[in-house]
């Protein structure tokens, strides 16, 4: 039938006959009559102004507290790309991958860093947030269930999944993130005097999220790790396979290595710092880091100059809110202090 008909005539007829017995008066319910009990939102002067005052006061208070606490944080950052320029130069060329290069950076701490002290490495200009970079991992491999990355639905050829030089042996851990792991070693030593240099005791555990360490990353089950990883290749940029990351502590080896886990939690911005070590508060350091001369001994492995990046080490203390910067406190303060101003403007019509 070429023409479409409107069946309305027939249907109205049917309706008519069916409704003849019942009244067509619509129900008298609040919903149908649009009379639902409701609160009418009104911006009353009292409400708005008092709201402004309250918010302003709150913001000011929080801002002051945040700024005070941010000011109590002691932080020191040393960029070492240029300090260790020779190492950086060496790492420019991939041929020198097996040549070791160390670098020592002395510095003076004028005040004691009280409490827990955290050691971070910080990268400038390293894009951990590229779309393809973030995707370049296999969570099912990292929980140990799919070590050979069979399940992973690879939309298109992702780099560092198969070792091209070894007939396509699957790489463990695969993907660009794992492959580009930060592999400098940073050791902080305390120079009590010119002759006595003691290594500051650092904890390498407890630097990851609990869920990462106990849910997201699991080693494949086997008698020992090396046998578990048979049939896989190490990532091309790695000097040793994943099951040799920490031979001393089995809980810190393989996929469960804390440094590895920290690296795998990709950063949101191209400049980021990641937790490297925590101060082990024993002996001299029970109060924190005492003032004095220190030096960082860095085994320089991670090349950053290729992409014009920079590296630095950061020592920092924390407060109740974590290592908050001044930004949040200032933002609160500015917001809070501009609110009374607004109130004032609204109310100064007298």
């Amino acid at each position: 039938m070429s023409q479409k008909y409107n069946p309305i005539t027939w249907r109205t007829k049917m309706k008519k006959t069916s409704q003849i017995c019942q009244s067509k008066l619509p129900d008298n319910t609040a919903l149908k009559q649009q009379q639902l009990p409701a609160y009418r939102l009104q911006l009353s002067a009292t409400g708005v102004l008092s709201g402004f005052f309250a918010t302003g006061a709150f913001c000011l208070g929080v801002g002051i507290i945040l700024i005070l606490s941010a000011k109590s944080i002691k932080e020191i950052e040393i960029k070492y790309t240029k300090i260790c320029a020779n190492c950086a130069e060496l790492r420019e060329d991939a041929i020198n991958f097996d040549k070791e290069c160390t670098c020592s950076i002395p510095f003076y701490l004028s005040e004691t860093m009280q409490g827990n002290v955290y050691l971070y490495y910080k990268l400038y200009g390293f894009y951990q947030n590229l779309y393809r970079y973030i995707l370049s991992r296999s969570n099912s491999q990292l929980v140990g269930t799919d070590l050979k990355v069979r399940l992973y639905l690879i939309w298109y050829n992702t780099p560092f999944f198969k070792d091209q030089s070894h007939n396509g042996t699957p790489i463990a851990p695969c993907g660009a993130i794992a492959n580009s792991i930060f592999n400098d070693t940073i050791i902080l030593s305390y120079n009590l005097n010119s002759s006595i240099h003691m290594e500051v005791p650092m904890l390498r555990s407890g630097i990851t999220w609990w869920t990462d360490k106990y849910v997201k990353f699991r080693n494949p089950s086997a008698i020992n790790l090396s046998s578990a990883f048979t049939g896989t290749a190490k990532p091309p940029y790695w000097s040793k396979p994943v099951y040799e990351l920490d031979l001393e502590d089995t809980e810190n080896n393989g996929f469960l290595n804390d440094d590895f886990i920290v690296w795998m939690r990709t950063a949101a911005f191209p400049t980021f710092k990641k937790l490297y070590r925590r101060l082990n508060r024993v002996q001299y350091f029970i109060e924190g880091l005492p003032a004095g001369n220190y030096s960082f001994n860095i085994t320089y492995n991670f090349p950053v100059t290729r992409f014009k990046g920079e590296k630095s080490v950061v020592l920092s203390t924390l407060t109740w809110s974590g290592g908050s910067s001044l930004f949040l406190g200032l933002a609160y303060t500015v917001t809070g202090s501009s609110l009374p101003g607004r109130n004032y403007r609204l109310s100064n019509n007298c």
Binding site: L25, N139, G323, R342
Partner: protein, 1420 residues
């Protein structure tokens, strides 16, 4: 179900031979099977999908889906698009499927009805769908006609049968159909079986009242007309059986041909929305291009070097190509600025509004048991923007219940009742109605007051007898006599019914009719007249005649018709009588009565015979039969003798004047388009208050030639222009269409004019070269009445306004003649009343009384518009806030099309997290209670001016969205750049950032919808809180261990919600973002409310201040006195100028006799002159006194305030004398305290009519009163006594808070009031009863001090840090500092502590020296 039809070539002519299926087969006519369904089980999916993808939006999303399947481009998982798309498609498909299911059901039911078909000489039961063209079928009483049949014979004599055509045209009265004489004898089956006539007729068409064809049988030709046809859909009544020949079957029947698809109407918001969506697409492409360029540059500068860690994809060989791919990726990511849910949500909201209309008990007519019905669900918000209403008169404004009221017989007028003094008596003082008890057949309900007419009948006045004889003979009414003496008339038009009933009561009882005879009881004796011919009525002839032979054998033609037509065809000898009758006619028309002229003519036998021959020939003609018949009729209907005239009253419907007054107040222009004659129309205009005594002049255009019409229009324009009243009230038009040159001049015309134009003048005025002139003139008038217009002209007028004014038009009517107008206008409203349902079927909305129009427009329309606008604003806002974040992130992620959020969040944001609260707002929101929108009709104006959602508003909400996206992105960015978690781990990981941004976004948009929702019902609460709860529930579920263990690659965010949302920093960031996003909005709204409120703010603010319960309006607990005092701004105005009631304005047509007020009436205008006028916008004295009273809080006002009257003459450009007085609502600061304690407030107690002289203060205003006593005692200050020039009648207009008031100082009172109010509230808040200058100064000082302290504090903190790095501080003292922290990268985007950004620009300390980073030393 059988397959019904195949495609056939168009027919030129239809041939069908009875009882010859083989012969008919070869034409392949459609069978009688109908199919209204669109799909069957197999075709449903493909066809429905195909139809759905014809929607641009759906195709667009399909395109996006395909893009996402390209791995190089895909930046989101496929499900982010497919889930919403499938959801939308599925909902639509289910709806379509249900619709189609019901269509299948009804098709089946219809197709399987049984009918008796004559096959092979015997009657057999057949299903309807098996009936073929050429079959003869038998119908029985009360059966539906199965196809379009040629009536062959029936059980009644002369092949007559009766049908009801309700389903076809909605008319419930019965109609007669008659078989042609040759076939009417074919009564038995055997003869019918031998019948082999062939019908040759027109091809199928949709004209219900026309049919032309011929029957060829036994070598002769018989003409066929519509009189011989039984159309499908009719029901056989009062006829035992009949036989018919199937001519058209199934889809070819007139019923099916008529049920075409109606034209799809779109609203202006729809069109605007489509434009905006296109703009957004443009914007989207721009963003895509910017980001693609960024990507190309980044890949070139950075990406190439970063390839060690992340090599390019194999397909990508250059930065340029990478940019190209990233363009498409960003198109996918950013597509959420135009979410698919927009269109669906809009439909849902409109559907909801339609249901509200259907459910409205206040639009339900108890008498007729008809609810209002929204037949189109897509036009609701347009109801809130109507500017022009075109109304039919009869049946729309009037009840269409006709009452025989007066008549003129041979120059004597009957019907008026005179009292003893010879004055016309009024309704209330009328004596008993005329007693018709002499006549046992009289209708008891018929009332007539003038006994002289009955006396004339009783004494046997021959003219009077002839007069009523005509009325009892010349009509098409059918009578039904269930019991002896109980007559029921079934008339096609109520006029006829009224006339025949009148004749019945006066002793000329129409008893029964057959095709050839009419039996009348004349004064108790039955007389049978032979009916020779009926010259039927149509719109062109505007008359009908019958030719009868009375028992004596005399042939006489009786004619009744419209006066314009009939008076021209009278015999010259009746000239004198004609003059008196014309006077009577004018008088009747002046009273708003419908008139008909009656005439007769004697015919002699030979002439009649000869004329009957010619008539037969004309009716046999195949071509132009109508015209030939018309000319034959015309010939006989000439030189008639005038008998008299009748006047029928068509009462106004209840509530019409109030409705019109209210709509006029709402700035809606009402044009009445009627077929009635000018006087009737004008009078109805007066009685329904369209024309009032305030109208300065009524221009009447009645010219018959182009030149005359042009001249009359020109004169009207000149008068308007020259008039001294040139103060503009045309502000609305000027604001809206400043560029429109056409109307700008005349719309500024003040004063009230009305235009009445006649049908024949209108024909000229609507010609192409004059239509603009006409429009210009008409639009400058307050009321326009077009009389004697044809249905086509109605549509043309609507089209004209629609085309040139760019305003929303609404046409309302009830009859078939309004259908074209209803279909043309933006919105068509059908009155489901007396005249069938054709208008209703063509309409978009239908209800049964005109007065419901006010509720439809002012309540439902206004709310729909408001809700839709709010919905759209918020919708665009939330999606921009959501999407633009990706744009900002692009600059930090190498433009790699990385999304900020988790992909599940992107999928669910629009369909789960934010859809329901905004839907609830779109469906339920109310700004002011419904009563208020009736009381303040000005509230309707924003819709007409399209203020709530236009391009400007769109940009504002877009800007707000972008602002929110900036904050939602950059605040967490600033925080995360440096911060660490409380266990020392990094905070700035991608997943935590995603969760923080998403959470703050959801909270921000939820708070925003909370602010936008003005009417918090339980449903709103449920949806808003529920959405937040669902967000967190889904967030935690998605990040849970369980899901991760099952699908480790799909749920990557495991543990994220738990650990991120446990961080105080994250919550502090979210809180700050919310505060910073929302507070400016609140502040802006608040400032707007206090500085430039619109009327709806004012009204709702009043409500809240008075604490009225929106539903019951009962005052709640005692309102705090102070607040009441702020709000009480109404007192009656001071007595008006002495001598105010001047002479009636010039040029106004004096009312001819007082017209009785309609039921539920208004106060007579005079009463209001003494009393103070109510305060409402543009008040006119006759309008709705309750309006003013409403504005006063129940319980009286506790304060008074000053009202100053000003004379318009003192204003620049004043001259608008009729609007001379303005109430300026002007309150001096301590106004309400000025009242003397003993002095009564100037306000009426609750419910009072116009407030009497002042009464004592209400007792509960204690504090206020106490305060008042402390104040200086001053008398109430009135404005300066002003000279009162001449004709100031009454208070005409009160300028009520209209921001667009053309008053040169129009905004001033408003402004003052509001700022003062808030000042007071602020004062109250600070606990300062009345701040003096000193207090104020100290307040300022405190504020400044506060500012100063924080300023210094911030700067100090910043500089201290700076100094610290200058001198090395605790960083690297002792050693040459490599590069002090906090001093690096001063310029650029490097994530640095916010202090630089925030403090730097102040310029206090950022000297050049400071900005230059110190030289970094080389490594040891």
């Amino acid at each position: 179900m059988a397959l019904c039809a195949k495609k056939r070539p168009p027919e030129e002519e239809r041939r069908a031979r009875a009882n010859d299926r083989e012969y008919n087969e070869k034409f392949q006519y459609a069978s009688n099977c109908i199919k209204t369904s669109k799909y069957n089980i197999l075709t449903f999916l493909p066809v429905n999908l195909f139809e759905q993808f014809q929607e641009v939006a759906n195709t667009y999303f399909l395109f996006l889906l395909i893009l996402q399947l390209i791995p190089q481009v895909s930046s989101l998982s496929w499900f982010t698009t497919i889930v919403p798309l499938v959801l939308v498609l599925a909902i639509t498909a289910v709806k379509d499927a249900t619709d189609d299911y019901f269509r299948h059901k009804s098709d089946n039911q219809v197709n399987n009805r049984q009918s008796q078909v004559l096959i092979d000489g015997s009657l057999q039961q057949e299903q309807w769908m098996n009936v073929r063209v050429g079959d003869i079928i038998k119908l029985e009483n009360n059966q539906f006609v199965a196809a379009d049949l040629l009536l062959l014979s029936s059980s009644e004599p002369h092949g007559l049968c009766y049908i009801e055509t309700a389903e076809l045209d909605g008319e419930t009265n019965m109609k007669v159909r008659q078989a042609i004489p040759v076939t009417s004898e074919l009564g038995d089956i055997s003869r019918l079986a031998k019948f082999d006539g062939e019908v040759v007729c027109e091809p199928p068409n949709n004209k219900l009242d026309k049919f032309s064809g011929a029957l060829y049988w036994k070598e002769s030709k018989f003409p066929l007309s519509n009189q011989n046809m039984l159309l499908r859909g009719c029901v056989l009544r009062n006829t035992e059986w009949c036989f018919g020949l199937v001519v058209f079957a199934g889809p070819d029947t007139k019923l099916m041909q008529n049920s075409g698809r109606t034209k799809f109407k779109r609203t202006s918001i729809d069109r605007l929305m489509n434009t905006l969506v296109l703009w957004i697409f443009g914007f989207l492409v721009c963003m895509g291009v910017i980001l693609a360029i960024g990507n190309a540059i980044w890949e070139h500068e950075v990406g190439t070097r970063f390839q060690v860690y992340l090599p390019w994809d194999e397909a990508v060989d250059s930065a340029f190509f990478s940019g190209f791919l990233s363009f498409w990726s960003y198109i996918i990511i950013l597509n959420t600025v135009v979410p698919i849910s927009l269109y669906v949500s809009v439909e849902v909201i409109r559907l909801g509004h339609s249901y509200f209309i259907n459910w409205d008990r206040k639009m339900f007519c108890m008498k007729k048991q008809t609810p209002a019905e929204a037949r189109t669900t897509t036009l609701n918000e347009e109801l809130g923007q109507v500017e022009y209403v075109f109304s039919d008169k009869t049946g729309t404004l009037t009840q269409n219940v006709m009452v025989f009221h007066k008549c003129s017989v041979r120059g004597r007028s009957y019907g008026d009742v005179f009292d003893v003094l010879g004055h016309k008596a009024e309704l209330g003082e009328r004596p008993q109605p005329v007693d018709f008890s002499f006549n046992p057949l009289a209708d008891k309900k018929f009332l007539f007051w003038d006994p002289t007419l009955l006396e004339a009948v009783k004494v046997g006045d021959p003219h009077t007898h002839e007069f009523f004889r005509l009325l009892s003979l010349c009509h098409t009414v059918m009578s039904e006599e269930k019991n002896e003496g109980e007559l029921y008339y079934k008339a096609q038009s109520p006029d006829e019914g009224a006339l025949v009933t009148a004749a019945r009561n006066f002793g000329f009882v129409f008893r029964s009719r057959t095709p050839k005879t009419i039996t009348v009881h004349e004064m108790g004796t039955a007389v049978t007249y032979q009916l020779l011919a009926i010259l039927d009525f149509n719109n062109i002839r505007k008359r009908m005649s019958v030719i009868v032979r009375n028992p004596e054998g005399r042939i006489r033609l009786y004619c009744k018709g419209a006066d314009t037509i009939l008076l021209d065809r009278l015999h010259p000898s009746t000239q004198e009588l004609l003059n008196t009758t014309t006077d009577h006619l004018n008088e009747y028309a002046g009273e708003g009565l419908r008139t008909l002229v009656l005439a007769y003519k004697d015919l002699d036998e030979e002439y009649y015979e000869e004329w009957a021959q010619r008539r037969l020939q004309a009716s046999l003609a195949q071509d132009s039969r109508e015209d030939r018949l018309a000319s034959v009729y015309e010939e006989v209907e000439s030189d008639m003798m005038l008998l008299g005239a009748t006047a029928i009253e068509d009462r106004l419907q209840q509530g019409v004047p109030e409705t019109i007054a209210l709509l006029t107040l709402a700035n809606i222009k009402i044009w009445v388009l009627t077929g009635d004659k000018q006087e009737t129309a004008v009078n109805i205009g007066y009685s329904c208050k369209m024309l009032t005594d305030d109208v300065t002049e009524v221009f009447v255009v009645t010219g018959h030639t182009v030149l005359e019409v042009r001249e009359e229009l020109r004169k009207a324009r000149e008068k308007m222009m020259d008039s001294p009243h040139t103060v503009g009230n045309g502000f609305t038009c000027q604001e809206k269409r400043p560029s429109s040159k056409l109307t700008s001049v005349l719309e500024a015309v003040a004063g009230e004019y009305a235009l009445v134009i006649n049908g024949h003048s209108l024909a000229h005025a609507l010609e192409a070269d004059m239509e603009l002139e006409f429009l210009e003139t008409a639009c400058a008038c307050k009321a326009v009445i077009c009389c004697r217009v044809t249905p086509l002209q109605k549509a043309q007028v609507v089209e004209l306004v629609k085309k040139h004014k760019k305003a929303v038009t609404l046409a309302i009517g009830d009859g078939a003649n309004d259908v074209s107008m209803i279909k043309t206008a933006h919105i068509g409203v059908g009155i489901s009343g007396q005249e069938g349902i054709q208008a209703v079927l063509a309409s978009d909305y239908s209800f049964s009384q005109f007065k419901f129009l006010q509720r439809l427009l002012l309540v439902h329309g206004r709310w729909s518009y408001l809700r839709m606008c709010k919905f759209l604003c918020y919708f665009f806002y939330k999606n921009f806030a959501f999407t633009m974040v990706h744009f900002w992130f692009g600059f930090f992620c190498g433009f790699s099309a990385q999304t900020v959020y988790d992909q599940y969040f992107i999928t669910l944001y629009n369909i789960v997290y934010t859809s329901l609260p905004v839907l609830a707002m779109g469906v339920f929101d109310q700004d002011v209670p419904e009563q208020r929108s009736m009381e303040y009709p000005k509230l309707y104006e924003p819709g007409q001016l399209n203020l709530l959602f236009n391009k400007r508003e769109f940009f504002i909400c877009i800007a707000q969205g972008i602002y929110a996206s900036v904050l939602v992105f950059f605040l967490p960015y600033g925080v995360f750049a440096e911060a660490a978690r409380d266990d020392g781990a990094q905070l700035a990981d991608y997943q935590s950032f995603a969760v923080t941004v998403a959470t703050s976004l959801v909270i921000v948009v939820s708070v925003q919808i909370g602010l936008d929702t003005g009417y918090w019902t339980a449903i709103n609460h449920f949806f808003i809180w529920g959405s937040l709860a669902v967000y967190f529930a889904i967030l935690f579920a998605m990040h849970s261990d369980g899901l991760f263990r099952m699908f480790p690659n799909q749920f990557r965010f495991v543990g994220n919600a738990q650990s991120s949302l446990a961080q105080p920093t994250v919550w502090l960031t979210i809180a700050l973002t919310t505060v910073v996003c929302i507070l400016p909005v609140v502040a802006f709204r608040f400032l707007k409310l206090s500085l430039k409120p619109d009327l709806s703010d004012t009204v709702s603010a009043r409500l809240s201040a008075w604490g009225w319960d929106p539903v019951s309006e009962s005052p709640r607990a005692r309102v705090p006195a102070l607040r009441a005092a702020w709000w009480s701004r109404e007192i009656p105005p001071p007595p008006l100028c002495p001598g105010g009631s001047g002479p009636p304005p010039r040029g106004v047509r004096p009312r001819r006799g007082p017209s009785p007020p309609p039921p539920g009436a208004l106060q007579p205008a005079g009463e209001e002159e003494e009393g103070p006028a109510p305060l409402h916008a543009e008040a006119r004295p006759h309008q709705l006194p309750p309006l003013g009273l409403r504005l006063r809080p129940p319980g009286g006002l506790r304060g008074a305030h000053h009202v100053r009257q000003e004379h318009a003459a003192q204003l620049p450009g004043a001259g608008r004398l009729r609007h001379a007085l303005r109430l300026r609502l002007d309150r001096e600061p301590a106004q309400e305290e000025e009242r003397q304690p003993g002095q009564p407030p100037r306000q009426a107690p609750e419910g009072g009519a116009p407030p009497p002289p002042p009464a004592p203060l209400p007792a509960d205003s204690g504090p206020d009163r106490a305060q008042a006593q402390n104040q200086k005692q001053k008398g109430p200050r009135l404005g300066p006594p002003l000279p009162c020039p001449g004709p100031v009648g009454r208070l005409k207009s009160l300028y009520f808070f209209t921001p667009s008031d053309p008053h040169p100082r129009g905004r001033e009172p408003l402004f003052l009031n509001y700022t003062r109010m808030y000042r007071r509230e602020a004062r109250d808040l600070l606990g300062l009863a009345c701040p003096s200058r000193r207090v104020r100064l100290s307040l300022i000082c405190v504020c400044v001090w506060f500012h100063f302290v924080f300023f210094i504090w911030q700067v100090e903190g910043a500089s201290e840090r700076l100094l610290c790095c200058r001198r090395g501080g605790w960083s690297t003292g002792g050693y040459p500092p490599p590069q002090p922290p906090g001093c690096t990268g001063w310029l650029g985007w490097d994530p640095c502590p916010g202090l630089r950004l925030l403090v730097g620009p102040w310029g206090w300390w950022s000297t050049e020296e400071d900005l230059v980073p110190s030289e970094s030393p080389s490594s040891p």
